[in-house]
Symmetry: C2
Subunit: 93 residues, 2 copies
């Protein structure tokens, strides 16, 4: 399944930066980091469940926002990059 994860981690105090680092590290283990708060990649259903459980252990559910878009295998979608900045997924086989 194609997975796109986007998050807004609420940074109001210095220790919130620590939580942001943890969430980023967790998600990076599973899918590619394509923008500051955007990740995308291919995951099996079981890996997606593990990603969600790990994220839920580190986020602040009241203050942070995490949205996941899941596209079934074979679902047709287009991905367009409007700008000239390098595509972080270019070097991924």
């Amino acid at each position: 399944m194609k997975v796109i994860l986007v998050y807004d981690i609420s940074i109001e105090e210095p220790r919130d930066q620590n939580r942001l680092n943890k969430v980023r590290q967790v998600v990076r283990k599973y899918i590619n980091h394509v923008q500051k708060s955007v990740f995308e990649g291919e995951l099996s259903p079981s890996k997606l469940e593990r990603l969600k459980n790990e994220v839920l252990r580190v986020v602040d559910k009241r203050r942070d926002s995490v949205i996941i878009y899941i596209l079934e295998d074979g679902a047709f979608y287009e991905r367009q990059i409007l700008t000239d900045t390098p595509d972080p997924t270019d070097n991924i086989i």
Copy 2:
């Protein structure tokens, strides 16, 4: 078509904030602002073209990153919110 737009606007000087505000205003005219740098909504092909052209007139193509995911009408996808923060698209008919 379901459209998800994500951006990273490079903020290195005070005037970059002005460009960020402009890009945000442009995208908000077309689709919903669901996280700081994430927008989503339904668009016709012609409106998507107009959105892209307007965005291209205000972004810095060398320094900013704008990615658009486009799902054909009827493409099956799931949208999951992992956290308890309110869903900005809840009050949209």
